[in-house]
Amino acid sequence: MKKRVVVTGIGIISAHGIGKESNWTKIISGISSIGEIISFDSSKYRGKYGGEAKEFHTTSIHNLKEKRLDRASHLLIHATREAFFDAQISDTVKNIPILLSLGTTLGGMLSGEMFHKEAIEKGLDRARHSLVSDYYAHCQAINLFRELELKGDFSVFSNACASGANAVGYAFSSIRNNKYDAAICGGYDTMSEFTFAGFNSLMAVTPSICRPFDKKRDGLILGEGAGILILEELEHALKRRTQIYGEITGYGESSDAYHITSPEPSGRIASVAIKKAWSDAGNPVIDYINAHGTGTKYNDLMETNAIVTALGNGARKIPVSSIKPMIGHLLGGAGAVEAIISLLSIMYKTLPPNINYNTPDPECDLHIVTKAARHNIKTALSNSFGFGGSNASIIIREYP
């Protein structure tokens, strides 16, 4: 018998700040935290802006002995601590086997960047090899295990921008199929010049503002941060008498098998992920769609097609918004942070706005939410699509 899976803790770091309260307040205010990049010189790029988590510097480390940790590890450890605190997880609960399911696109790329640069400029034998220890993308998960003295198992997914959603989906499936009672899941990524230069070389970054689904949209804005959710089997959470934020009820995924960077334009394959998640959840009425909405020509058109193909013509009436114009595209962190925002929108019965939307695009004829508004959201759909054609959708509903 399938178990029910609930969310009992949230940890979030983004350009909007640290913690769910500050993030939610700014999200519904429609404030943009996008600005000129300060962590490196972006003046030479087509797009110069990004959503850096400027309020976050480092977290306190107690058990790890490494002298140097990548910012990715700091983001991950801090967001997880916050989620643990939020879920009132004590040491007793930490002693049960826990699943850690994470998504990242880059892992410790900031360290990798430094190492590559030193190797090129000074030679391999003079580059700091200590930089490599937290470069590989599975190292942050192990650091978290060691720092929080966890035991259980970990899985690190790297499926580009769908990674965070994949990680949440895997944790959800593992608890539902009775493999674990509790899981830490989510995603993270840092603002690295490697990615910034890469997305610029693909002409995917906007030189101005990110405006998903708008006719004048011309690219995405990168961001950084982490989103962590504590998932528990319902009875496990009830026994602990902890608060329950909501319930994950469906997950679906598919792969375009089309192109390494371009989405399959008809959205037919992406619609399979949405349909699977929707069917997995029992085909509920969808009250809100938190779109992947990157603001690129191809993604937003494909996503519109996918939503309509999966949910029918009625989908055009469902409120849709993307939060990426406010905090940027968090890559591996996007799916998790957007699942959190979907959850908060259900809790606070408020639709987050899709800012910078001024000129409707007839090809993206969805009900785009331009201003935060009260709405009786019971069930939300969160979409994530990534390079290589990875598609993932999550259905979240209110509890009880």
């Binding site: 990798g112 590989y136 997914f157 199929n177 598919s254 098998a257 390079f387 054609g389």
Partner: protein, 351 residues
């Protein structure tokens, strides 16, 4: 029953199951001084030399892909061909890829172009092919896999975890078939880095398997079935992590340690080896193929499948002289990392 129906090894000692098996039997090792990197330091490693993707792959779209992708593309094609699949249903097929280091050569090339020539020197394809899921995406595009396509990152346990994940998708009915692959490429930076920690004999290549739900013995008969598997992590006690993974996999297979006929392990941790040394006959392929991180375990899976099929364990991989059963029924493939991650998979003979 979830059975292993196809294998595809791309190794420094042979590409394709027959070439690979024959060289394992003959004890061929390809260790030699690296010729690929213009470095002041000498490295001994196992390279796949004279690899021409066009000899193995008709699809020319992937000529500019990174080596890690090319190896994986060929391994996957070999595994699919070996499984003799008559009808391909891409929607009901999953791909799970285990990776440790990823496309490091293109990443390094990207950084070099960026540092020396600036933003204008970067080729967009260097970026898209440097992304960690590029090998999996290329396979999905090449083989038209439209079910879940996942890249799992990890140390040496990565490919065993990928098998466990694929098995879960099959057993919960998400897909009917899964391709599990693992791939690595040699890179100058990683040779430098790992040599400082005493890692020698680094290697490259790929391995892929096809696993499917089968009702019974079908033609052609599967190599074996997946009877038990588990993974665990306990950084404060790596020995406990290994013990837990082994015990849980045995429990799932309804076996005891004494029922295992042979263990293939890539772990050099003394505490881990002590667990089965002088109890169960064991072996390791690394002295022949070199160390390709998470691909090691995939090569062990391929080798174990062939060992079950041919009812013999090649002497060249043996690490002890214990007697092996004449009737090889269960082989355990395990991996344990210093940082406390461990995984085990048991392959059993189809009865």
């Amino acid at each position: 029953m979830i059975a292993l129906t196809g294998i595809g090894p791309v190794t420094p000692i042979g590409i394709g199951k027959d070439h690979f098996w024959n060289n394992v039997i003959s004890g061929y090792s390809c260790m030699k001084k690296s010729t690929r990197f213009l470095s002041s330091q000498e490295f001994y490693c196992c390279e796949i030399s004279r690899f021409n993707v066009d000899e193995h792959l008709q699809d020319s779209r992937f000529r500019r892909a990174a080596d890690i992708s090319k190896y994986a593309l060929v391994a996957t094609q070999l595994a699919i061909h070996d499984a003799n699949i008559k009808e391909w249903h891409g929607e009901n097929t999953a791909l799970v890829m285990g990776i440790t280091n990823g496309p490091l050569n293109y990443t390094q090339e990207f950084h070099t172009a960026f540092v020396k020539e600036g933003i204008d020197g970067i080729s967009p394809s260097l970026f898209s092919e440097s992304v960690l899921n590029a090998p999996a995406s290329n396979i999905a595009i090449s083989s038209i896999i439209r079910g879940p396509v996942q890249t799992l990152l990890g140390g040496t346990t990565g490919s065993l975890k990928a098998i466990i994940f694929a098995f879960q998708m099959l057993s919960t009915g998400i897909v009917d078939r899964a391709i599990v692959a693992s791939s690595e490429e040699l890179n100058e930076l990683s040779l430098f880095y790992y040599s400082r920690f005493g890692y020698t004999m680094l290697s490259e290549g790929s391995g892929a398997i096809c696993i499917e739900k089968v009702k019974g013995l079908e033609e052609p008969s599967p190599y074996c079935y997946l009877s038990g598997m588990a993974s665990h992590c306990n950084p404060s006690n790596p020995k406990d992590a290994f013990y837990t993974a082994v015990q849980q996999s045995l429990k799932m297979a309804d076996l005891e340690l004494k029922d295992i006929d042979f263990i293939m392990s890539d772990s050099s941790l003394p505490a881990v080896r002590k667990h089965y040394q002088n109890i169960i006959p064991s072996g390791c392929i690394i002295p022949l193929t070199g160390n390709a991180f998470c691909v090691n375990a995939m090569w062990h899976i391929v080798l174990a499948s062939l060992s079950i099929k041919y009812r013999t364990i090649p002497v060249s991989i043996r690490t002890d002289t214990m007697k092996i059963s004449d009737n090889i029924s269960h082989i355990m493939i395990c991996s344990a990392e210093e940082k406390g991650a461990a995984a085990a998979v048991i392959l059993s003979k189809c009865l």
